[in-house]
Amino acid sequence: MTTTPLAARPGRAWWRVPPRHVPVLATAALLLVMYSIGVAQYQAFSNIQVVFNVFIDNGFLLVVAVGMTFVILTGGIDLSVGSVVAMTAMVSASLLGNGLHPALVLVIALLLGPILGFAMGCVIHFFDIQPFIVTLAGMFFARGVCTWISTTSIPITDGFWTSAAQHRIHLGENFVSVGALIAVAVVAVAAAVLAYTRLGRNVYAIGGNQQSALLMGLPVGRTKIAVYTISGLCSAIGGILLSFYTLSGAPLIAVGMELDVIAAVVIGGTLLTGGSGYVFGTLLGVLVLSIIQTLITFDGTLNSWWTKIVIGGLLFVFILLQRLVGIRTK
């Protein structure tokens, strides 16, 4: 790893933040500032339901961003996520329409994403082709499957799906959806995997320096294939959550989602060169993106394109910040 543990550095004050934590803390600070602005400007913003709605509306984005964090931590990139989300939703909608049992549909839909991810990981590792190109082909492929299934939106009327979509879990006066809870659970599991398992350590090691990881005898190939499979799995879960949320499968849904996801991961403080970042940061990044959208919705006078410009501006600020704290000078 690039930084030695705190304890190993004598003379360092306890309040000094290790440089690798700075981007995450900056994101957290930004989130707080934005939330305070919202609360100060709009009375309804202080309602705790606003926060829950953020999770309800962006649960699928959060899950996909978690998968992307794994890939980016190894120094790779996965452009196929948006299409895989759409493909999963589309396949579930069409299979449910054909009267298949929901449990079976769930299993099939959750298998497709990881299989595609596994195949892409194998091509990337065994044939040494850039992840950018391979996942780009994967993106075209999954989107093609969507439109091959149907060029129009397929509604979902299945009982299990509609009850999952409409069921409200009450917490005091407020409520969250099933999807939001699943998203939070995925974040927790992913954070634990990255922090406490061998796979997690390998992911950081490969992102830090693939050559060193290989020389240390770490299973580089297996880990690389694993992260693309994980990303595929997360996209598949995201697709299911999206189909809960919209109760339909549409061939052109989630177009360009990969950009939002990458932006969220970068704003969350993960380095695109790999080796440094946290799932918690990604959570904050997704929250920042959704609070921007909520603020712009609350304002009412700003047009939707301001979202893009603000996200672009934030990306710039955070990338500049990463340079300034100089986590890596490459």
Binding site: I77, L112, I115, L116, A119, C122, V123, F126, F127, D128, I129, Q130, F132, I133, V134, L136, A137, G138, F140, F141, R143, G144, V145, T147, W148, T151, P251, L259, I262, A263, V266, L272, T273, N303, S304, W305, W306, T307, K308, I309, I311, G312, G313, L315, F316, I319, L320, R323
Partner: protein, 356 residues
């Protein structure tokens, strides 16, 4: 016998061999499906025909891919070309739409100059981020890719600007010397870039920066200036492509102009044999790659396959071409050279079709 085999091996290992084979196969498939495909006729002094159409439609992609080749040669990548094309098109169309006489040549030239100027500024912004501040190219241009779309919509205030300007339309659908004007522009820019990079030392300098920027700097090359320059050139190429795309339909839609053109351009460059790692670039290969992608799209339309499904074909072709070109893949199959062609392609296809 052995010389024949050696010569055959030399031909098949040429980087353009497989892309050209795929291109020819596509053309043959089209010709078989529709015999009139290959015919070119002269009407009113203009050339018409499917082949001409393919080249005309691929003109914007060729332009964008040319700029992209140079950027990739320095080891970078430019994701913002689609957004830059949209902004340039929006600026030009906005200016034209505000003038009383949209058909005046002066107005159109001013509009194009304005759009071009804005694009150069955007390119310079990318260049400063990458060469000046030292941000990774993929993220630096991601900023403009996201924000540029918003900017294009901001310029057009969320509307689709429609114009009615004869001279501007010429850029997209006009003719010059029997050839569509778009082809002439693409040809001219290709020749210009080729002469500037291959008849001077510039091309080699760009490649050396891509090979090792620091070593090039120590050898006396202004690495940063070259890196900065390629992003500006890429934006300029994207702007011309943006004019073509908006002129084609006489309107500028900030959301739709140049959508995903960056991905197609990167594919064209990679299919043409330029490695994403940088250090080498092949302009001829890039042009072949762009033509291949456009032919694929057009064939899918012509064969009455649902246009959306063309993405499936694209995915398969991309992965097959990339696999065949990958050294690791070739090495794996070198042992079975006795049947060199047939085992290679099905493997690539199968790999992708597993999840379906």
């Amino acid at each position: 016998m052995s010389t024949v085999r050696a010569r055959a091996a030399g031909v098949t290992s040429h980087r353009l061999f497989w892309p050209l084979v795929v291109l020819v196969l596509l053309l043959v498939a089209n010709a078989v499906y529709r015999p009139s495909f290959l015919s070119i006729e002269l009407k009113n002094g203009h050339l018409y025909g499917s082949l001409i159409d393919i080249v005309r439609l691929s003109a914007p992609l060729i332009l964008v891919a040319l700029g992209m080749s140079l950027v990739i040669a320095t080891g970078g990548i430019d994701l913002s070309v689609g957004a830059v094309a949209a902004v340039a098109g929006a600026v030009a169309c906005l200016y034209i739409s505000e003038q009383p006489d949209q058909n005046s040549l002066g107005v159109v030239l001013t509009a194009v100059a304005l759009g071009f100027g804005v694009a150069l500024l955007l390119g310079a912004w990318n260049g400063i981020l990458v060469a000046g501040i030292g941000i990774q190219p993929i993220i630096a241009t991601l900023i403009l890719m996201v924000a540029g779309r918003g900017l294009a919509q901001l310029i057009a205030e969320g509307q689709i600007i429609t114009i009615n300007s004869g001279p501007y339309k010429v850029i997209g659908v006009g003719h010059l010397l029997t050839l569509p004007f778009a082809i002439v522009i693409a040809l001219a820019v290709t020749l210009l870039v080729a002469v500037l990079t291959r008849r001077t030392a510039l091309g080699m300098i760009i490649e050396s920066v891509g090979g090792n920027a620091e070593a090039s700097r120590l050898a006396g090359i202004r690495s940063r200036r070259i890196t900065f320059l390629v992003y500006v050139v890429s934006a300029a190429c994207a702007a011309i492509a943006g004019f073509m795309m908006t002129a084609n339909v006489s309107s500028a839609d900030g959301n739709a102009v140049g959508l995903w053109v960056e991905l197609d351009a990167i594919l064209a460059v990679v299919i043409g044999g330029t490695a994403l790692a940088g250090g080498r670039f092949y302009l001829g290969g890039t042009v072949v790659g762009a033509l291949l992608i456009q032919t694929l799209t057009t064939s899918v339309y012509a064969m009455n396959i649902d246009p959306q499904t063309s993405l499936l074909f694209k995915a398969v072709v991309v992965i097959v071409v990339c696999l065949i070109q990958a050294p690791a893949f070739r090495a794996r199959f070198r042992r079975r050279r006795s049947v060199p062609v047939t085992p290679v392609e099905p493997v690539g296809t199968e790999k992708e079709q597993v999840p379906a």
